[in-house]
């Protein structure tokens, strides 16, 4: 039996020693912060022209997270690459010969990648918040205000879970191209379209990203979702658990 501590150490070496990891995570941070800052600055200068309803329901915290829509794509790439690189390079055979217990192998890899993503995601969320608030000027909120800290931590958790969900999907599909080809358009376009159309809105609010958004919001006026911030977060966690279970089922059954 493989010793879990050894396998965790090995997976950490794997993550550190390829460039794609460093640049996808770096990109997630930079894109999210920069875009959030830009949109926050833009919002401040156009605040007076905004319709009254938007001004009343203005959520400075969520506004500073505006870069996450794009930044999450880099998290998706990270999650997909970390898992499917094994398949696309043929490394999987070497890896499984070294660690034949497939659950130990997969979950050690996912644990290490999740922890790495978590650290970057939290940094991204906090930096986005503070930079965004600075840009918002007089429209800013403070980390000490009600629910704001929860939303900022929620932003980090959301980004982390997006990466973990992608790991599960990649373990199921085993191909980086296929996984990215499904996940990227889904999270970037399809989900928001489904959420905007009246007919599909009721269902779309149970999609992982839309449910997960709730925990990052402070102002939720006019939102008729039947769950609170942590309820939404729990729905997202459920999606992640299902994806990971599916990924493990495929790895367990499949010939390497």
């Amino acid at each position: 039996m493989a010793v879990v501590g050894q396998v965790l150490q090995s997976e950490w070496t794997k993550i550190k020693s390829v460039r794609s990891t460093v640049w996808t995570l770096g990109l997630a941070l930079v894109v999210t912060v920069a875009l959030g800052a830009l949109i926050s600055a833009f919002t401040r200068s156009n605040f007076k022209e905004m319709p009254l309803s938007e001004r009343v329901n203005f959520d400075p915290t969520f506004t500073s997270f505006a870069g996450m829509g794009l930044g999450q794509l880099a998290m998706i790439v990270f999650g997909v690459l970390v898992v499917s690189n094994e398949y696309s390079t043929g490394m999987i055979r070497t890896s499984l010969a070294a660690v034949p217990q497939r659950a130990t192998f997969l979950f050690s890899k996912i644990t290490v990648a999740t922890f790495t993503a978590f650290v970057i995601a939290m940094v991204t969320s906090f930096v986005s918040f503070f930079v965004g608030q600075a840009m918002l000027g007089s429209h800013r909120t403070s980390i000490g205000d009600a629910h704001v800290l929860r939303a900022v931590i929620g932003g980090g958790l959301y980004m982390t879970l997006i990466a973990v969900f992608s790991m599960g999907v990649a373990a199921m599909l085993r191909s980086p191209m296929l996984s990215l080809g499904i996940l990227m358009p889904f999270f970037f376009i399809i989900s928001s379209i489904l959420g905007a159309v009246k007919a599909t809105k009721k269902v779309a609010q149970y999609l992982p990203d839309q449910a997960g958004h709730k925990v990052m919001q402070v102002v939720t006026v006019g939102d008729d979702a039947p769950y609170g911030p942590w309820g939404g977060f729990a729905i997202m966690v459920l999606w992640v658990v299902v994806a990971l279970a599916g990924g493990y089922a495929v790895l367990k059954r499949h010939d390497a």
């Binding site: 020693s17 043929g90 034949p100 390497a256």
Partner: protein, 343 residues
Amino acid sequence: MIELQGLTKRYGEKLAVDGLTCTVRPGIVTGFLGPNGAGKSTTMRMMLDLDRPTHGTVLIDGQHYRQLKDPLRTVGALLDAKAMHGGRSAYNHLLCLAQSNGIPRARVREVLDTVGLTAVAKKRSKGFSLGMGQRLGIAGALLGDPQILMFDEPVNGLDPEGIHWIRNLMKNLAAQGRTVFVSSHLMSEMALTADHLIVIGQGRLLADTSMADFIRQNSRSYVRLRSPEIERLLDVLAGAGITAVTTEDGHLEVDGTESAQLGELAARHKLVLHELSPQQASLEEAFMQLTAESVEYHAHSAPPGGDPRPVAGADAPPDAPPDGGAAPPGGGWGADWRKKKGS
């Protein structure tokens, strides 16, 4: 020691490995021979528990692969040379393998040195040549200092020097008492390296024999005779106590008698001979004949299942090392070897 018991693998309709039962013993190099698509790689993947057998089991020193604690310390394998992340340096590739099996970091340097990759240890393996990739794969196999080593076509694509290096490495490993299991589709290569042979074709066991026995059984050189007076020739030979076999195309084949002696005998009886030629076949041909029925992917111009034409002195490959290694003696080929094999 590796024991295969009724090992079977089916991919959909395709039976890739069919009830393979054999034992791979320590202290010798065991050659695993078969034509393309015979099921060699599939068998090796099942040994490492990468592919699940449809039936049957593989036992490594009496245990299933997945029950081994730190498997790299028991079994080292080179499957395909490119089973690594090209973006990772040679050093880090070996380091992550070492860590997963609790192998000390210092060992990584050692094996890099053994395979001669120290100078490029920090380079990404993407830029490696075929031979360097193969060496890195071998370093991975040696990493845990295992008692059992498996190599799937290790000499593929290597230059003569690389081939020579791997050949000696395998022999040295076996001489240290380790189990060395190496696949190939070249009999000539195996003749220089292996002490024991396991031959498969279309997933089935065709032969499980020592190399020495294989050579002995297939090294019966003979003399081919052709004459317009075939009946009288047969009588003369019989009179001299020499047995001859008549082939389908009307030749005679004579075992164990020098061609000079046969020529003189014919002259004494004023017999006209149209051909008097000593014949020797390569081991390669013996192997081809053995696997002929099971070869899946024939080249259209030269079906190996046809009449094998013995070629004199073609038993050593052109790239044989200067030291000759375990080169077989002049291999010959017997018309009835197939019966002897009972295949």
